[in-house]
Symmetry: C2
Subunit: 430 residues, 2 copies
């Protein structure tokens, strides 16, 4: 891990310049992806089959996974895993139900009604990556909020493979209540969801992580359908003082680092002794990890031990980093909530280890990465609804507002706007 | 206007194929825009000055509009316009305050706290187009929701012109409570807001409509900062039966058509007589409109009179169109709210003419266009906040969930995740 011990101002400048250098590479994939999108938009199912054969060696007749296959796969999953998934589901549901939003109607003035409806999206597509990046916990996290929002059709797509879709992924989809599963991946899967083919239905929104082709395709179809955020490498930030347990912190940093060689880990502390102990513990615990190589590279390239003067400065640095996951390992951790301005999900105290949030606590684990918690939210029920406003005016109410509307319309040079009100008060038009 | 009288199924197919042909042209601008973004990201203020001189003949020392200029401009605006803007503001505020969302905290189980904070974005940029497309009403609609959300810094950018920024735009910004105004436009203004220069501050989100360069720049910086939706041509759909007043409907269609040659207008009705009368009325009212040419072209290219069998089918067609504005000109209009699945803003009854919503009613007039009300919402307070989750676990609570976490982590092959929980129960690590 890299040490940063300096004035906060200088640390912040360094971090900002590092952020600038990363995160630009997508343009080169776009030409290729644009072609795939175009082919599937214009040629539909035929093109989808060609790409699936070419990229994934898919040779089946249909992309649809049958109900029987899903049932059989679910039966093959160990009972203890099924129980854990169901427990996770209960907690995710009880958390996310609190995100439901209410319509409102307001009748503050005679003859006027205004309000807003909350409507679920009609159809949503969930992308689930293949291979070792296929996580059943992520299936629950992506699907359940859509379910709670009231989405009628939830479609899952996941790349085909010679060994088939992992049983536990099908089981998780089953538990979460996915309506249809298609064995199709990559940019071609995103195109199919965005434009529809005779087999794969067109959806209103596409969510879920994927490789660079998937991310690029999502960005290109954005506007034609809605998408969730573009996920970058995962991050954890830990704020701790000398009362914290370096063994716990090291284990939590490693749990992030094992995800991906590009995962980022930050410890920000006012105690150089704690930072030293954490560094030693990381090295010690690393030795026996199955994913040692990945974690080692991630820590070497993107691990940081940041020592600042006091906790006030620690929060300044951390808010600038705007981490996906933030652990507060300080006494009375809840009292620090008001100091946090940018973070996806916050873990409070020594026992709220970050994996608690990945699997069981119930808050979402699909979170804004790479500093985007400055403006993005965790995935939630609010991502699967849309709002529709409505306005009712009586003739009398319009009469009262007639002048103001016409003054503004004419000031903007929009005479037909003014006349639309005017005709309603002309004797001839009754 | 074009007539469509057929079975609903066939009308829907025709509408779908027309939608396919429109709306693909942006790629060609991207290369140029990408260069502008890159230059401003790397060379900052210097590059911003070069582009402003080149594209807008801007020669000033600073882009910042001084408080004195804003004050002087505000004083020059007619009292009746100022009063109408203030009345609009009151209604916009009272509507949007109902969109504020509440944090929640949940303690359903001993030793566990979970919750979600609602935090305002820190800084927001509002783009206001130049020339005749500079609408004071849009300044209020973009700025006030951000203000209500609690955004600390609201920055407005608008292209420079030889005659200066229109007084009424500066006055509206002043009324709405904009913090800083910069005279800079085009893709270079979007780049400045996304990356920051020594003069223009970096923001977290960029909202507001603009030309193709602005839209393209917004799409390219998406992910680095947040953006609102990409606005397409404006639309109105009217559902009416033979009890409706054709004069009113014609006037409302014209108020949409005068915006833009690409504006779309739809009447969907079960009465061919009404449709005929509306067509005649449109031609009659068109003659004396100052923006006759624009409205005429818009109606010829994108105006539709759609006649269906009954009102049930009318709603099916309209929900497929998913219009930005929807008027229900039927008896007892409120009773039809449950039939609407896709629409930005709905106007109920003969006297809720669409311009009522543009100027005075208080619901937002920044709405999803081109069928995107399938998945997007009107601009609102929710666009200027982000959510942060938090989780607290006691040791005892972690003990209870320990097994489930470890089973899932190991099933996903993430051993360090399992160990992060395990170390907290090892005797040595106390």
């Amino acid at each position: 891990m890299k040490w940063m011990i300096d004035e906060t101002r200088i640390i912040l400048e360094q971090l900002a310049s590092e952020a600038k250098e990363s995160g630009r590479e997508q343009a080169q994939y776009e030409t290729k992806v644009r072609e795939i999108l175009w082919e599937i938009e214009t040629r539909g199912q035929e093109a989808l089959k060609e790409y699936s054969e070419k990229f994934d060696k898919f040779k089946g007749d249909t992309f649809l996974v049958s109900k029987e296959e899903i049932k059989a796969a679910t039966k093959r999953v160990e009972t203890e895993v099924m129980d854990a998934l169901k427990q996770a589901k209960r907690n995710i549901v009880s958390f996310h139900e609190q995100q439901k939003q209410e319509a409102f109607i307001d009748s503050g003035r005679e003859g006027v009604l205004r309000g807003q409806l909350i409507l679920p999206l009609e159809a949503v597509g969930v992308y689930v990556p293949g291979g070792t990046a296929a996580y059943p916990s992520s299936v629950l996290m992506n699907v359940l909020p859509a379910k709670i929002a009231g989405v009628k059709k939830i479609v899952m797509v996941t790349p085909p493979s010679e060994t088939g879709i992992p049983d536990v992924i099908l089981a998780a989809a089953n538990i979460a209540g996915v309506d249809e599963i298609y064995q199709v991946g990559g940019a071609q899967a995103i195109a199919a969801l965005a434009y529809g083919t005779t087999c794969v239905p067109k959806v209103d929104k596409i969510v879920g992580p994927g490789n660079i082709y998937v991310a690029s395709a999502k960005k290109l179809v954005f506007g034609h359908v809605a998408i969730d955020m573009i996920a970058g490498p995962s991050e954890i930030g830990v704020i701790a003082d000398d009362s914290a347990n370096p063994v716990f912190i090291a284990a939590d940093l490693l749990s992030q680092a094992e995800h991906d060689e590009r995962a980022r880990t930050f410890l920000v502390t006012d105690s150089i002794e704690l930072a030293k102990k954490v560094e030693q513990e990381v090295e010690k615990q690393l030795v026996t990890l199955p994913r040692k190589k990945i974690a080692e590279k991630s820590l070497a390239d993107f691990g940081k031990l940041i020592v600042v003067k006091n906790l006030e400065e620690a929060f300044n640095v951390m808010n600038a980093l705007a981490p996906e996951h933030l652990e507060i390992q300080l006494p009375e951790p809840l009292s620090y909530l008001p100091k946090i301005t940018n973070a996806g999900s916050v873990f409070l105290g020594s026992y709220a280890s970050e994996p608690v949030g990945d699997y069981i606590a119930g808050a979402n684990h699909v979170l804004p990465t790479s500093g985007t918690s400055r403006f993005y939210s965790p995935l939630g029920v609010y991502d699967f609804i849309k709002r529709t406003q409505f306005t009712y005016y009586s003739k009398k109410a319009l009469e009262e507002d007639r002048q103001a509307i016409q003054i503004l319309a004419r000031k903007e040079g929009l005479e037909a706007h003014a006349r639309a009100v005017e005709v309603r008060f002309e004797e001839d038009n009754k």
